[in-house]
């Protein structure tokens, strides 16, 4: 069933922030096939179809992963490292959405092979614009991908 293909995996422990992100994506109808998980462990379970996501078919990867860095259980950078070091999952685009603008975090994220790093601004207007730009970009990319 095409409808059940997950377009976006959002990894965010702060539910209010997640709601803001989802709200922004909804404005462009990008949140229809979005899955939200609370921590790094759950994110890895989903991606590798383990634990409570064991029923998921292994080959159906999300189109894009929006990843926070400061996560409970397993940190965002570790999640990123595991995705990018696995042959089957390393091609999934990963965008880090983080409050941290620390140089060391940014450098390590790129070192692990992140596709994009977005520092979440306090001003919602700017945030909204960043998210929608991102969503539109990936959507267009995916559509062109589907055509082939």
């Amino acid at each position: 069933m095409k409808n059940h293909v997950t377009e976006i995996l959002l990894v965010e422990d702060n539910h209010l922030e997640a709601k803001l992100t989802i709200s922004s994506l909804k404005e462009f109808s990008l949140a229809d096939n979005l899955v939200h998980v609370d921590d790094g462990a759950e994110a890895l379970d989903f991606i590798f179809a383990r634990g409570k996501f064991a029923h998921r078919l292994n080959d159906k990867h999300p189109r894009v992963i929006l990843l926070d860095l400061n996560l409970p259980k397993i940190g965002g950078l570790e999640v990123l490292r595991q995705i990018k070091s696995n042959e089957q999952t390393k091609s999934i685009p990963v965008v880090i959405l983080s409050s941290s603008n620390m140089d060391s975090d940014i450098a390590r994220a790129y070192q692990f092979g992140v596709n994009s790093y977005v520092v979440k601004p306090v001003d919602f207007e700017v945030f909204f614009k960043a998210i929608t730009d991102l969503g539109a970009y990936w959507k267009s990319l995916n559509q062109s991908h589907l055509l082939h």
């Binding site: 209010l16 922030e17 803001l20 603008n101 620390m102 979440k120 601004p121 306090v122 919602f124 945030f127």
Partner: protein, 592 residues
Amino acid sequence: MTAKQYNEKTIYKIGFFSYAESESDKMTNCFLLGYFTLGLLLSFFYNTWAIALYSGGLCLFAYYSAKIILPKSNFYQYVLSVVLGIFVAQYIYQMHGLLEMNLLAIIGSAALVTYQNWKLQIPLAIVLIIHHALFAYLQSHGFDKIYFTQYGQMPEQNIIMRGAFGALAFFICGFWSYRFRKYTERTIEQSYEIGRLGEEKLQREALVKLSEDLRISNEKLNEANYELGMLFNNIKDVLFSIDIKSNRLTNISPASAIVYGYTPAEFYSNPELWKQVIHPEDKHLLKGKFKPLYQGEQLRIQYRIIHKDGSIRCIENHIIPTVGANNEVMRLDGITRDRTEKMKAEAEIINLNASLEQKVLERTEQLEAAVKELEAFSYSVSHDLRAPLRVINGFGKLLMRRYEDKLDKDAMESLQAIVGNAKQMGQLIDDLLDFSRLGKAPVVKNEVDMTEMVKSVVSETMAFEPANISRINLRELQPALCDAALIKQVWVNLVSNAVKYSRKRDNPQIEIGTIGENGHTTYYVKDNGAGFDMEHSDKLFGVFQRLHKVAEYEGTGVGLALVKRIINKHGGKIWAEGKVDQGATFYFTLPH
């Protein structure tokens, strides 16, 4: 009179007499030659050649033989006396018994006076007495072999007269010889005494001067000796001398009682003492070290000793050898210094250094830990403080967006306040993080084209400016040696400040330029905006210090603090001049 003076006088006398004798000998040579020649002359008249030649020749031979064989003795003078007697007899025989030839004996006797020895008269007298006695005896016994003329019996009166005259002549000549000698001796003694007295006077004067000089130098020597003695007895270091030949300690100063604890007497009585006091662990330090001393090289050596009181002391010995004429070391002189306190101080310094290093390490660790904590704190500030602000701002905006038509103006204004303040606080946090991050970043200096840099800053600033009416007058700027990224931040802050505060003017004017040349360049940004009261100029560059209300001019109060921090990190200066409503000028310098 000392023995020396006696000897001198005798030598002086002998010298004079030997000179007189050699003069007399010369006269004697002529005299004897005359006698011999007289014998030959008589032979012409009386045909007595055999007597003249044999007797005269034998006489000459006897005289010169005695003189040559015993040159140092006056024996030849006695021979001469005998020879003169024989010559008289010879002439009597040659003249055929003419006894008047006895007169010649008086001449000979007188000639002997020149030797100034009355005893010389005796042999001549004996020869004549024996000759005349023998002659008279032979005649009276009728010995006819006597071939000269017979005189017959001589009257007794005549014989006594002749004998008396002869004896008188000998006596007078002998007496003269004696007197002559005595007189000569006295003259010699007097002249010697006179000479000696003159010499003595000169000598005495010289001696007086010499003794005066000697007295002065002696005094000086005594003084020096006294000072040296004081030094030797009171110096804190031990002075010592060793005689190499006897291998004995000849001198050691009283300080040994302090440095070693042993008195000089103890060192003199025990020649091995200096070895016995060496710390057992340091004995190896001295092995073979003394050899170079015997080749004339100095030795400086440091080792530990055990003091008489049992404590361990560190001493330094400096030994200087003295080399004699035959290139052999004669004596050693040394000085022993107690180095214990110095060594202790040095050890203390080493200890202190070590503990200082330890402390520095500890402090560094503490500092590093503090820095890490601060980093963790900044991280949580940047992450955890911004998240709730974002949520407040975000949901506020969502409310305004979705319920714009349902909310009244008052509610919308309240929402705007919430959203705006959240945004403001987010900005504040970002500025603060920039400010603290700047403290850690090192300054990387490069040659920077300031004109180009300010041009791009101006265009970037004006791009976000809604009312782009400011007129910016950018002059040519001196290049600078600085960190490009940091100094760009300075220009961004100063230019945007100038734009911000002059925005409300009818004719905003901003001027950017430099004052001064090479190495003393001052950059400035001048505006004709709101300005400030110089009374509050000290608050200008403080964090969170603002001279204007947020409602009038937006801002967090971090910008100028950041600028000051960057300029300070470069070693430069920043200051400002201004008047309320008459604009402000910001100056800064960068060292070359």
